[in-house]
Each structure stands twice: as structure tokens, then as C-alpha cells.
């Protein structure tokens, strides 16, 4: 057992439990997706600051999202979801025929050079209410981090800020952390052989700066700060939104009692987590590891006893 291993059960103070006796307060991200405009400034700022290689010039053809998900070369990822559902009780102005206020046009003339107005080609059911959900995903910097637990070299470690970082000069590319992560965050860079993920800009934190993504976010959808303060701010924010009629607003990953002991990067979402590609109820796999060792110990004993028994009895 090294000093980097967090205590089982989710320490309230992960940096202290990891052997940083005199450490700064734990920091994190609160990503408020209700004000995200999907500009991807965070993706770009992250790439620029951390000098991350190009992650494939793909065209996903499903949405404005062409980076798809987090990976070795994508440490911030903006999800795009279009839904036939209103955002809260907002009126979009393109209601189905007969559903909107009297006199409102069913299709809207935007004055754009085209042969027909947007919405003309669709039937009444094809128009109507819709919303776009946009959310900037990132490493959760879990209180109980599976990647950190399973790393056999100690390359992954807990920083004094309570974040989880890979030491690239130690990682030998075993890849164990990749299937261990319940969120699909950390990933192996094929041509490099090592694993990579968000460091919460460890270098910037040391200089008293906020991470590049939070710095670049034009709407403060990505908010960086002390985790305790962010949790209070998020609780107020979700209450405000729900009182204003956005009853789909909920927090994700803010609860220290959840399956990863609370995420260091948590979110305000407007739909179920799985809609954004997030697991609805992730549990760190190492919670079951003591039971796994017990079963493996029994199985080893059964194997030894069973094979020894084959030598018993008369010789035939």
C-alpha cells in the first residue's frame, strides 16, 4: 500500500488521505449545462494549453458533435442533443398548427435566400417544440477514482488539490485504467502507448490560474473553484431553475454519498445522464475488490485441494 491509495469508503479529504498533510482546499468544476451554448471554446482552449494532438477530422453526421466523446486526445467534449421537447416552459414560437397563440405563423420566414421557409417542408408534427441540450463533459476527478486504484505503476496519483493526474514519465501503457473508468474518460493514445486525460490544468493551478476551459468559457457554464463552494452554488442554481419552471434541471455527481464518493467535476443537467452519454449510477469497481479477493482466495484453495485430491487413493 502506497501513500497514494485513497482510504476505502471515500475520504472526505482525498488529498489529505493521499499523504498531502498541508494542502490547499479541494478544487473542482461545476459545469452548468443550462447556460452552455455549445461553442466548443473549452475543447479548443484545452487542446491549445495542453498541446493535445488532433483527434481525427471526423464527420459524425448525427449532430454538431464530431469529437464524439472523451478520449486520449479529447479532454473536454461538448455533447449536442436535439429533442422535440420544450426547455422548461419556454415558448419557441414555432408551435404546431393550432397549438400556438392565435395569429402566429406556423413557419417562420428568416429572410434567408432559400426557396422555402424553414418548417414549410415538414408536416405540422415535424415542427413545434424543440430544445438543444449542450454539455461540456470532462474527467470527473472522482473522490474514489477507479483509474487511480487499479494503476499498477503509481503513474496515476492524487494531487494536493484533490485532483487525479497521470505522470507521463511513469505510465507504461498497461491500459488497465481504461476499462476501469466507469465514465469512459481516460484512454490510450495509440501512437504514444501511454494513457492521457484531463489534469484540471495542474500546471495552471500551481500558478494560481484557473483551468484553460473555465478561463475560455464565454457563458461561465464551466465554473472552477473550491469544491465545497461550488456545491453550495450548484444547489442554489438548481433550485432557482426549478422554481422558474425548468423542472428537468438536476445535479449529477455532486453527492459525496454516490458511487464514486462524489465527483470533483459535477454537472447541472436538463435530462437523464445517459442522454448525454454519462452513466446513470456509476459505482467505482474497487468497492467490490475485497469481495473479489475473497472469492479468488477461495477458488485458489479449491484448486489446490482439488488437484491434490487427484493424487489420493490407490494407484491405478
Amino acid at each position: 500500500m502506497t501513500a497514494n491509495d485513497p482510504a476505502p469508503g471515500g475520504p472526505a479529504d482525498p488529498a489529505g488521505a493521499a499523504g498531502h498533510p498541508d494542502h490547499p482546499p479541494r478544487v473542482g468544476f461545476f459545469t452548468d449545462t443550462s447556460v452552455c451554448i455549445g461553442c466548443k471554446a473549452c475543447e479548443v482552449a484545452c487542446k491549445e494549453w495542453n498541446a493535445i494532438p488532433e483527434d481525427g477530422l471526423n464527420f459524425a453526421a448525427t449532430s454538431y458533435d464530431n469529437s464524439g466523446g472523451l478520449g486520449a486526445d479529447t479532454w473536454r467534449h461538448v455533447a449536442f442533443i436535439e429533442q422535440r421537447r420544450p426547455l422548461g416552459r419556454q415558448h419557441t414560437g414555432v408551435a404546431r398548427d393550432g397549438a400556438g397563440p392565435a395569429g402566429e405563423a406556423a413557419a417562420v420566414d428568416l429572410g434567408m435566400p432559400s426557396f422555402e421557409r424553414p418548417g414549410d417542408g415538414a408536416g405540422a408534427d415535424g415542427r413545434g417544440e424543440f430544445r438543444w441540450l449542450m454539455s461540456s463533459d470532462v474527467c470527473k476527478h472522482c473522490t474514489e477514482a477507479a483509474c487511480l486504484d487499479v494503476c499498477p505503476t503509481g503513474a496515476l496519483f492524487r494531487t494536493e488539490y484533490g485532483t487525479v493526474v497521470v505522470q507521463e514519465d511513469i505510465c507504461n501503457g498497461c491500459g488497465y485504467c481504461v476499462p476501469a473508468c466507469p465514465y469512459g474518460v481516460i484512454d490510450k493514445r495509440e501512437d504514444d502507448g501511454r494513457v492521457w486525460k484531463c489534469t484540471m490544468c495542474y500546471d495552471r493551478l500551481g500558478a494560481g490560474q484557473q483551468p484553460a476551459c473555465a478561463q475560455a468559457c464565454p457563458t461561465d457554464s464551466i465554473q472552477f473553484g473550491e469544491l465545497d463552494e461550488l456545491r453550495e452554488r450548484a444547489a442554489r442554481r438548481v433550485t432557482d431553475l426549478q422554481l422558474a419552471g425548468v423542472d428537468s434541471a438536476r445535479l449529477y455527481g455532486e453527492d459525496p454519498g454516490d458511487g464514486v464518493g462524489g465527483a470533483g467535476a459535477f454537472f447541472l443537467l436538463l435530462d437523464d445522464p445517459e442522454v448525454y452519454g454519462l452513466p446513470p449510477d456509476p459505482v467505482v469497481t474497487t468497492r467490490d475488490l475485497p469481495a473479489m479477493w475473497r472469492h479468488a482466495g477461495t477458488a485458489a484453495a479449491v484448486l489446490l485441494a482439488g488437484l491434490a485430491a487427484t493424487f489420493l487413493g490407490r494407484r491405478r
Binding site: 419556454q90 452513466p279 477458488a299 493424487f311
Partner: protein, 338 residues
């Protein structure tokens, strides 16, 4: 550009827009409230993309590692039994097999590293929370013992220390065979993690069957009695544990049925059953023993590759990640209401 700055006194200059009540503007009193629940019986995902990242392990290396580790560990137990019970030909075969298999498994593990030259970093720390760290230390202890056992046997020198090494390898061997189950189960991969109770028994059973198979291939009928009995023991343990694992978990049952995993696991069942039956009934006949032995070795390899591919399939389909977790959330909500 964000106007806010992090100072020692906290964030300064935050934009007031972060408090915008998006979605509440022009609120329409008649608009229905929607709670965005998933459609009944289905599950939702982000464009059908997997939640987990692609497992970066090569099948040949890692499934091969699981197979060879089980073969080596079980072979060492049979080797010690054969030596102590006076079956020199069986002992010789099993010691050579243990050394060959453990060498091959370490080679596969190193080959699968992104930075093979940094293999020794595995011994930089000792972490019980990482089955791969525990396994590295196990191999570091077991490998030299298996090597010494085989070297003294094949050269005929240092027989007494050789016997001590043989017994030492036999005591560590079952741990080498069993630890690979926590290795793959200690992940978020549904078909591996959810089977963590039974997986060690599947793996030790499969390892015993493989070692028995090599014993049947490489020893005369006069000495192969333990191998015949080990074949039945290993096959029965593996089959029973697999059946129980499939009964208990949908992700396991589904992924063991379809795709490449399904083909491999059906082949494994047929080969293992045939091999065990052949060993039990016809094992005293030289050629029948060899055919049965080959079937058992092939069956064990198919089991490991099948389980490996089942894990890959369960990670690639968001269904196996989302549905059980959503079910947990629902149960908690129901318990909270009750």
C-alpha cells in the same frame, strides 16, 4: 473569454449571465410540464455510443495471458503431486509446461504494454487495490520458482533444492491461476465485473482442465491417473461456475450467447465436455488420452478468449451499462418513496 479570475480570495469578476434562467423566458402558463422519463422498457443513450471507452487490450495478448497463467499455475500443482507420488514422466511434463506457459504469459503481458521498455515500473509500487500490481509481484515470486523447478528437473542437478522449488511453485500456482479473475473483474466492464463472484472458479476450473490436458498429452497411461481425475474436476468446476454466472447476470448471459464470444464459448463447452468424458472413460488408452488432452487444452483456451470477447461486447453496447444502473436508480427512488 471569461471575465472571471481566480484569486486567492476566490473567483472575482464572474459574469452575471451565469445566473440566467434559461428556458423560463416567455413562460407559457398552459405549457405542460415534462419530466423527461425514458420510454417504458427501453433505454436512452448518446447516439447509441458506448459509455465506456474501448478496451485497449489485444485479444491474443490478454486472453492468451489469462489462458497461460491458468495453465502454468495448475501445472505446478500437478508437477509437485507427481514428483511426491513418484510419477517422474508426469512431473517432468508438468514442470516444463509451467515454465513454458509462465514465460509465454509474461511475454504476452509485456507485448501488450504501450511502453514495453517500462515493464519494470510494475514493480515500482505494491498496491493491493490493483490486481495487476498484485499479479506482477506474484509472477515475480512464482516465475523463478517454476523456472528453478523445471531447470533442476531437465538438467538433473540440485535435486533437493529443485523439490523445494517445485513445492513452492505448487503453493503459489493456484494464486497465479486465480488472480486473473479479479484482474478483469476489477473494471467497469459489465460482463466481467458482474461475474466477479464466479469468475475465479471459472478460471481455476479452466486452468485445471488445461493442465490436465497437457498431462494427458505428455505422460504414459501408467502415470496419467491424476490428470484424468483433474480433467473431470476442472471441467466440472468450470461448467458449474459458468452456468451460475449466466443465471445471475443478464449482461453475462446475453454476451455469452451472441457474437464471437458465443461461438467460442459454445466450442469451449463442447471441447471441455468431450475432453473430460474422454479422459474419464478412455484415458487409459494412449491415443484416446492424447485426443482428450488436446480437446481440454483447446477448450480452456476457447473459454478464456470467449470471456474476453464477451467483456468487449458488453463494453461496446451502452445497454449493459445504462439499463442495470437505471434500474438501481429506480429501485432507490421506489425505496425512498415507500
Amino acid at each position: 473569454m471569461s471575465t472571471s479570475d481566480v484569486t486567492r480570495q476566490g473567483v472575482r469578476g464572474a459574469r452575471p449571465a451565469r445566473d440566467a434562467l434559461t428556458g423560463s423566458a416567455r413562460a407559457r402558463p398552459d405549457a405542460p410540464r415534462r419530466d423527461g422519463r425514458a420510454p417504458e422498457g427501453g433505454f436512452r443513450s448518446y447516439y447509441g455510443r458506448p459509455v465506456l471507452n474501448r478496451i485497449p487490450w489485444a485479444a491474443r495478448d490478454i486472453a492468451g495471458y489469462l489462458f497461460l497463467g491458468g495453465l502454468a499455475g495448475s501445472s505446478s500443482v500437478l508437477a509437485a503431486g507427481a514428483e511426491l507420488s513418484g510419477r517422474p514422466a508426469l512431473a517432468r511434463t508438468m514442470k516444463a509446461t509451467a515454465l513454458g506457459a509462465i514465460t509465454g504469459s509474461v511475454a504476452a503481458l509485456v507485448n501488450d504494454l504501450g511502453r514495453p521498455a517500462r515493464f519494470v515500473n510494475m514493480l515500482r509500487v505494491c498496491k493491493p487495490t490493483s490486481p495487476m500490481s498484485v499479479g506482477s509481484w506474484l509472477l515475480a515470486g512464482y516465475g523463478p520458482l517454476a523456472g528453478a523447478a523445471a531447470a533442476t528437473e531437465l538438467t538433473g542437478r540440485f535435486r533437493r533444492p529443485g523439490t523445494a522449488a517445485t513445492v513452492g511453485a505448487a503453493l503459489l500456482g493456484p494464486a497465479v491461476a486465480a488472480y486473473t479473475a479479479p484482474l478483469i473483474c476489477d473494471t467497469a466492464v459489465p460482463a466481467w465485473h458482474e461475474g466477479y463472484r464466479e469468475m475465479p472458479f471459472v478460471f481455476t476450473g479452466s486452468g485445471a482442465a488445461a493442465a490436465a490436458g497437457v498431462g494427458l498429452l505428455g505422460s504414459p497411461p501408467a502415470e496419467n491417473g491424476p490428470a484424468r481425475r483433474a480433467a473431470v474436476f476442472g471441467a466440472a468446476l468450470e461448467t458449474a461456475a459458468l452456468a451460475r454466472m449466466r443465471r445471475r447476470t443478464a449482461a453475462v448471459a446475453d454476451t455469452h450467447r451472441g457474437g464471437r464470444a458465443g461461438v467460442l464459448l459454445r466450442a469451449a463447452e463442447a471441447l471441455t465436455a468431450t475432453g473430460a468424458l474422454g479422459a474419464a472413460v478412455l484415458g487409459r488408452h494412449r491415443w484416446a488420452a492424447r485426443v482428450s488432452g488436446a480437446a481440454l487444452v483447446a477448450g480452456s483456451a476457447c473459454t478464456r478468449f470467449g470471456i474476453f470477447y464477451a467483456g468487449i461486447a458488453s463494453a461496446e453496447d451502452p445497454r449493459y451499462t445504462v439499463v442495470p444502473q437505471r434500474e438501481r436508480v429506480r429501485e432507490r427512488a421506489a425505496a425512498g418513496l415507500a
